[in-house]
Symmetry: C2
Subunit: 200 residues, 2 copies
Amino acid sequence: MANHDALPLVVLTEQFAKLPGIGMKSAARLAYHVMSMDDEEVEEFAQALLNAKKTVHYCKCCENLTDQELCPICDDPTRDTSVICVVENPKDITAFERTGEYKGLYHVLHGLISPLRGVMPDDLRIRSLLARVQAGGVEEVIMATNPTVEGDATAAYVAQLISPLGVKVTRLAFGLPVGGMLEYADEVTLYKALENRNEM
Amino acid sequence: MANHDALPLVVLTEQFAKLPGIGMKSAARLAYHVMSMDDEEVEEFAQALLNAKKTVHYCKCCENLTDQELCPICDDPTRDTSVICVVENPKDITAFERTGEYKGLYHVLHGLISPLRGVMPDDLRIRSLLARVQAGGVEEVIMATNPTVEGDATAAYVAQLISPLGVKVTRLAFGLPVGGMLEYADEVTLYKALENRNEM
């Protein structure tokens, strides 16, 4: 923004521009929009920011984000405690919950092993996962990280730690997306779909 | 967002989703991002919001946004005070300033006349514009609202109020955008370009 803008507006624009996926133009538009909001609305927005950051922390069982001691899923007595689905981010839990089909628990790693980006196994929430498995009652751990190099490597690493504990470790199936078209599928997806074919 | 998300996160997501151009999915992504920010970063963001809203108001001369009594443009003694460029939004000033060519002053209407949306002339900053013209020293008022039905109507309305004061009122030229291609220009733009043709 040029220097003829009021300084507090420039500061606010820069704050918006720090958010992922928001460039300087969008940030300026958002800052101008804030100017047109009521005082109370801006107060509410600022409070929501501070409040979320202050009260939300990791669930002491599954490392999902929660403002309670246990997240609503770990705290739900109807969930199947014998299955743990291991995901990269809390966002992934939202995706699984939308299917409405999965009734087990989750464990959030908060990242993937990536030596290039300096993320080592100790930076992830792997220890708490092992502790949960070692505490007993778990029959299956589903590795649900993304089908990327880092996702596969992290899944393999975690599986290798859990298998000796006598618990079944599985990986999500990869293949053609439902409703997808063969001709648009990339080679790797098509290869996976062929490799994992099922009898009809 | 489903109800397995922590409530403060849902509240924050809804706040982000109120901003223009941000849907529920982007809002959730931004809320999760805030969780990964440092405490101080979130404090700074919240402060920037409150501070901008609290300290930024309208320039008492041109109605642009400023945190001083006069905006930097009205306060600049090198600007040509005999020309006033009338725009819809403070954002439009940024666009003109980027050209680096305009040395006059501005006046921000903060909207356009739109009976359909219930915006009447009295809702705009027209009175303060007339007061500036009546105070004397102004030789030309450039109507720089957008070439839309509402922009044209507002320009015509304001021009009709200013003309009797003996001040020249002009309108931005409309025609082919520089670098644009004839075959892609819409009919109205092409008609304007033809109508406003200049001798070579």
